[in-house]
């Protein structure tokens, strides 16, 4: 299915219906009939998008920076966005793959439970995070961001992998409970604040909070295996042989909480 926005608008469009699960087996006519909110007005998908059937199962969208909740809760299939995507992209998704060729706004992959999100440019705040009040954020799945990401990346994350090839905003991995966060650029301030468990892997040195303590410099076995597996994905994550075989300085924290979280800083 090909969806192109009919108008360029600043008004948010709430369209959790744009998922392979909702689209599967439906004709252009039926897809056009799915409900969306345009601002606070209920409309149909066809009122907002020009919909064409290209005979493929993949849902392809034009640039949709104000369309929210694309791929929400999807369980399988693929969505490709040929430009920017709005907030809550792939929130609570369980499977399938979303590819964004431009930027994505805040809350992408929030509380996702599986599947993959790949962003060619930058991501907003709370990537893979937990909605306010929730006990945990991302819980399985993979997010790869080729550019930078905003604040609170992987907040309350429980399982899964987030890779940010550019810089991280502040408070990345805050209150993390598990999972792995890898950053190739500069990590922001208050990294891993309140983290209980989980791993953060860095390739630039961070300004660590005083509640993280240095343990040792070594080559963690798990990380070797982990990076090798990650190399096999088609996302061209910049993992080098040095990264796999080199040593990392390990810090544990946040000791104001459980303190079983770990931050690895690549040394050589």
């Amino acid at each position: 299915m090909l969806l192109n926005p009919l108008v360029k608008t600043a008004i948010p469009v709430t369209a959790p219906c744009i998922t392979p699960d909702w689209f599967s087996g439906k004709s252009v006519e039926e897809v056009g009939n799915l409900p969306v909110y345009y601002g606070n007005k209920e409309k149909r998908l066809r009122d907002v998008f020009d919909i064409k059937d290209d005979g493929k199962d993949i849902i392809t969208l034009g640039s949709v920076p104000t369309v929210k909740y694309i791929g929400k809760g999807m369980t399988a299939g693929s969505i490709v966005i040929k430009g920017d995507a709005g907030m809550h992209l792939g929130a609570e998704m369980k499977g399938g793959c979303i590819t964004v060729e431009g930027n994505v706004s805040d809350w992408a992959g929030a509380e996702m439970k599986g599947g993959e999100i790949v962003v060619a440019q930058n991501a907003g705040h709370c990537l893979g995070g937990a909605y306010r009040g929730s006990k945990s954020g991302m819980n399985k799945g993979l997010i790869v961001v080729k550019g930078n990401a905003g604040n609170e990346v992987g907040g309350l994350m429980k399982k899964g992998i987030i890779v940010v090839e550019g810089n991280l905003g502040d408070a990345a991995g805050c209150s993390m409970k598990g999972g792995t966060l890898i950053c190739y650029g500069h990590p922001g301030n208050r990294l891993g604040a309140l983290m209980q468990r989980g791993s953060i892997v860095l390739y630039e040195s961070p300004a660590l909070l005083p509640t993280f303590t240095y343990d040792a410099e070594y080559n963690p076995t798990w990380l070797r295996v982990f990076l090798r597996e990650l190399q096999k994905t088609p996302h061209r994550i910049p993992i080098t042989q040095n990264h796999i075989e080199g040593t990392y300085r390990r810090y544990n924290g946040d000791i104001s909480e459980l303190g079983k979280g770990e931050i690895f800083v690549f040394h050589e």
Binding site: Y131, R132, G133, S134, K135
Partner: protein
């Protein structure tokens, strides 16, 4: 307006399922001869009941709002869109003010009582009540650990106490004396609690027994329409049915209402031996006079516990590991909030669930026991129809029993109870009984002179829960506010207050200015907060 050919259940007037036409004029139920407006509602095949009267719920004020702030995850799963007659809002356990009004009305409830307003927060409670549409409402004022109450109880100055109670009801625009864990909330300010009726309260030489007796006597001597409204000591602890029984018995002959009694009907020594004390409590209720209670029935699923019982909330926080808020109200009371989830497969939760039903079914006189969930402590109020179904159908109870923890069958007598509520019984525990206990003479019945608050249902014996979830019609003050379970009119209910008048003495004013953060002149709730009030005389 005429409600024609309906099957009417009006137990207060001994009408039990008869075809009676009801005539409404200017918001009141009138005799046929006074009828002018000849508009008809054809109600043949429908069940007509007085509008529901909620005796105990937490819907307005500081602790409700703390819970709202604390639980964004709760709102997210229950979003309410606006309609031409309804504002948008959210549920689930702590709904927004407007949604509370709509949901009560959709269920056929037309009067609701906020059961715990801290005096200092009374203005806030009234502010929120103003934003709860359709229903009539009011507040109970917290007094069980108030400085002046403790002081006068300690000094044996009953007349001063009585005067203070009257003044506080007047100042807070309250309707009844609410007592929560008497003495315990004061002790909690020093990290302590009380655990028997004869423990001494921290810094005061008084006991819970003395506090309760004094306030019960004051409420009776002031001729308040509602008795004292008591949340007993030791709430939530195994073995607490003994203190509940003792409280009921020692307060005789004064009137007393024991609230959410389910939370206070636990036998056993500890959590491992936790069993139901429901039948014992029902037996006590059966042989006592001047006593009423509401059950606080557990609804499986999410709840938000909120009470002035600060020490218990701290215990629950430790037990559950959930988030916790604690609040200290200077000189007066306190509060705690902890989210909670009642699980069918948790043995304690399942027994708690059985206890509420036991008390409702084993108490012979339905005028003594009322249906509540202590919203949102044991579950949201809009799940009442679930409980109604369980009360009216033994078969449904048996089905439900199969899905809960199997130990319930050993530790509760619920499986052996045969009683099924009739529609009249149900009308008593949700309407006639609560209205009588609250001293609301124009509520809970359909006789001439009553307020035209009426709920009409499409009753189907096979689908009792569904029947009561959405009223076919809810009529408030003679206006059709709900049709087919949907709000169809904007309507504003009244706030109920008392005509008590009293003044503070010079000494009291001095204590006030010395220890309160608020000047006494700024303390009373102004009339501006009661644009539509109904004043009830105490006699």
């Amino acid at each position: 307006m005429i409600i024609k050919n309906g099957t009417v259940y009006d137990p207060a007037n001994n009408i039990n399922g008869e075809k009676v036409d009801i005539f409404i004029e200017k918001g009141k139920i009138v005799d046929e001869s006074e009828l002018r407006d000849k508009k008809e509602i054809e109600a043949s095949g429908l069940v007509v009941l007085p509008g529901g009267v909620e005796i105990h719920t937490h819907i307005a004020g500081s602790k409700v709002n703390i819970a709202r702030i604390m639980r964004p995850e709760d709102h997210r799963k229950d979003v309410v869109r606006k309609t031409p007659y309804q504002r948008s809002g959210t549920g689930y356990t702590v709904p927004t003010t407007f949604t509370i009004g709509y949901r009560y009305a959709e269920m056929g409830y037309t009067t609701v009582w906020e059961a715990a307003a801290p005096p200092l927060g009374a203005r806030h409670s009234h502010e929120e009540l103003l934003d709860i549409p359709i229903v009539d409402k009011g507040i109970f004022t917290l007094m069980g650990s108030n400085y002046f109450v403790l002081k006068y109880t300690e000094e044996g100055e009953f007349e001063k106490l009585k005067n203070f109670v009257a003044w506080l009801l007047h100042a807070t625009k309250g309707y009844a004396v609410k007592i929560v864990n008497p003495g315990g909330v004061e002790s909690w300010k020093w990290g302590k609690n009380v655990s028997s009726l004869d423990d001494t309260v921290q810094n005061f030489n008084v006991t819970p027994r003395e506090i309760l007796k004094n306030l019960a006597r004051a409420a009776d001597e002031l001729h308040l329409p509602h008795s004292i409204h008591v949340h007993c000591n030791n709430l939530g602890s195994p073995g607490n049915y003994a203190i509940t029984r003792e409280t009921i018995e020692m307060l005789s002959p004064y009137r007393r209402h024991i609230t959410h009694i389910q939370f206070n009907s636990y036998a056993g020594e500890d959590w491992g031996t936790f069993t139901s004390g429901g039948s014992d409590i029902a037996a006590t209720l059966n042989k006592s006079k001047n006593v009423t209670c509401d059950v606080g029935q557990v609804i499986f699923g999410d709840a938000t516990t909120m009470t002035a019982d600060g020490p218990w909330q701290h215990t629950l926080f430790k037990l559950s590991g959930n988030k916790w808020a604690n609040s200290d109200v200077e000189m007066e009371t306190g509060a705690g909030i902890v989210p909670y989830r009642f699980k069918k497969k948790n043995v304690v939760n399942a027994i708690q669930w059985s206890i509420g039903l036991e008390v409702l079914l084993l108490t012979e006189d339905p005028y003594k026991v009322f249906l509540t969930t202590d919203h949102p402590n044991a579950g949201p109020f809009y799940h009442y129809p679930q409980v109604m179904e369980l009360l009216m159908s033994r078969k449904k109870r048996e089905e439900m029993l199969e899905t809960v923890h199997p130990l319930v069958k050993e530790r509760s007598v619920l499986p052996s109870i045969e009683r099924e509520y009739s529609l009249s019984d149900l009308a008593v525990v949700t309407r006639a009984g609560t209205a009588r206990a609250l001293g609301m003479t124009a509520k809970g019945h359909l006789g001439v002179g009553a307020d035209a608050d009426i709920s009409i249902y499409r009753f189907d014996e096979e689908q009792i829960q569904k029947s009561f979830q959405k009223a076919a019609y809810t009529i408030k003050d003679g206006v059709i506010v709900v049709k087919d379970g949907t709000v169809v009119a904007d309507h504003m209910g009244k706030t109920y207050v008392l005509d008590v008048k009293a003044d503070l003495s010079e000494e009291e004013r001095q204590i006030f200015s010395k220890y309160y953060t608020v000047q006494v002149s700024n303390y009373p709730v102004e009339e501006a907060y009661l644009p539509q009030k109904e004043v009830v005389t105490c006699r």
